[in-house]
Symmetry: C2
Subunit: 290 residues, 2 copies
């Protein structure tokens, strides 16, 4: 049984919502795997220990990485880029280093540089899972269940470690999607960053329109609350994402502006029926995949 575990010791760098959820899920599925954690915020790391997500605390990222066969870097994009050189230097020769950053082109570029002369391997990854609330408190062993998990590699050319990691996230309930970094960044620009920007824009209109009488906000029902779920996300998380994917986000916002203009031009036209039908289909597709 122990022979079937490809990663006997895992280092989780960043024990927040994503790192903590990964650790909890691995522990739930493979209790024999050792997990060592590190987080810049030592209180958060203590809570990760208390929750049973990680078993050992490292004093720094390099200490966490030493001896680990899998290094799971769950930090914001900018922090990942900054930490890669140190991690590459400390990683074991046969280790697989993977990250969870929300954009992949800039991270991939930094990784190519840092891992050029190393025998350890870097693999970009991105679990398309999240919650309104961040932090280890919200971590959940089931977070990845049913969610797409982007792996930045060609499935046909994947080596053993990459295949092992894909099998692991599959075992945790995620649906592995193999793709290139630029396909990933364009895709998340549309399906993740665009909805985020729209919820910010919608909140801003609601706020600007609301006057001293309390209208229109006083008439808001569940529809607005649902539409603004992403509006609870902190800028700290999005700053790096928008900086590293601004071209794709800008393209997606252009497309959205065109779609809004089309709706506006056709508010009283039968054309709108087709737009609703398309939307109903996209909605049904997403429901079916749940």
């Amino acid at each position: 049984m122990a022979d079937s575990v490809p990663f006997r010791r895992i280092a989780v760098i960043g024990t927040g919502l994503i790192g903590g959820s990964f650790a909890l899920a691995v522990r739930a599925h493979l209790p024999m795997v050792e997990i060592i954690g590190w987080d810049r915020d030592s209180a958060s790391l203590d809570r990760a220990i208390a929750r049973g997500a990680v078993q050992e605390k490292a004093a720094g990222p390099a200490e966490a990485v030493r001896g680990a066969s899998l290094v799971y870097v769950a930090l914001p994009v900018g922090a990942i880029v900054k930490s890669l050189a140190l991690i590459a230097d400390a990683a074991e020769p046969d280790a697989l280093v993977t990250d969870t950053g929300s954009t992949k082109v800039s991270i991939g570029r930094a990784a190519t540089e840092c891992f050029r002369a190393k025998s350890s391997l870097f693999l970009g990854g991105h679990p398309m899972a999240g919650k309104e609330n961040s932090g280890i408190e919200s971590a959940d062993a089931g977070l990845f269940k049913g969610a797409p998990y982007a792996i930045i590699a060609n499935q046909n050319e994947a080596n053993r470690q990459t295949r092992d990691f894909a099998a692991l996230v599959g075992a945790l309930g995620a649906h592995v999607v193999w793709c290139e970094a630029d396909t990933h960044d364009w895709s998340v620009g549309v399906v993740s960053h665009l909805p985020q920007m729209l919820s910010i824009a919608l909140a801003s209109v609601v706020q600007d329109e609301t006057d001293e009488t309390g209208f229109p906000l006083s008439l808001a029902g569940q529809g607005l609350t649902d539409s603004l779920r992403l509006a609870g996300s902190p800028y700290a998380v999005w700053r790096d994402i928008l900086f590293s994917n601004s071209d794709n986000v800008s393209h997606a916002l252009n497309r959205l502006a065109q779609a809004v203009e089309y709706l506006q031009r056709n508010l009283k036209s039968a054309e709108l029926e087709q737009e609703f039908r398309t939307a109903n289909e996209v909605y049904a597709l997403l429901q079916k995949r749940k």
Copy 2:
């Protein structure tokens, strides 16, 4: 006890999601009230009887209305406008007729015409509650709980019947919001119709961008699904809303286009931090009200 019930017999015209939920809620709170129902779709009316929402079936709206002290018209906007003359003719002299239409100016105009020479009273209303799925199958005695319920009247000048009706929807758990028809229509243009149009526009961009490889849709996570919850709404419901509120919706879409343009211009600027902070505040406010 029976004396404290202001409406002893209620006619529900349209026993779908809203009419059915209202009937179920009234029955749960005031089991002594008789409810007679009518629906164009006789199978839906039979299911409303089977669910215990209504106790009697009427053969037509006029038959339902006769003898009722409260007439609850829960139809789409266009059908409400069309049915008001017939209902005004059949209503008892002391009856209160109220509707649940999503826009209030056009309905109010039609009601003024139809009830001009009558001693029965018309009161516009709008429960800001809904679900992805329509129909009596989705009706729920708790649907109005915690939701705003617009009543188109001046609270200080409200007569006994209007105050009784406001007390009734308050007893069902709704939060009564007194307002004028044009304040209502402008407000729902921003907090209800704009989010709806945005979800249609977002779905259309996702659909247009998705190519034969399945990207970007294959990377969609919960964020997109939440943002597209309203995209499941059928055009049949929205056609009348958009026709009767096109000026307000168009204004809201203009404001949104400006907000999107501002975000796009500032994707890499610190200005965005303030936009996120505003959105976080609006989100927190909506959460607190839940």
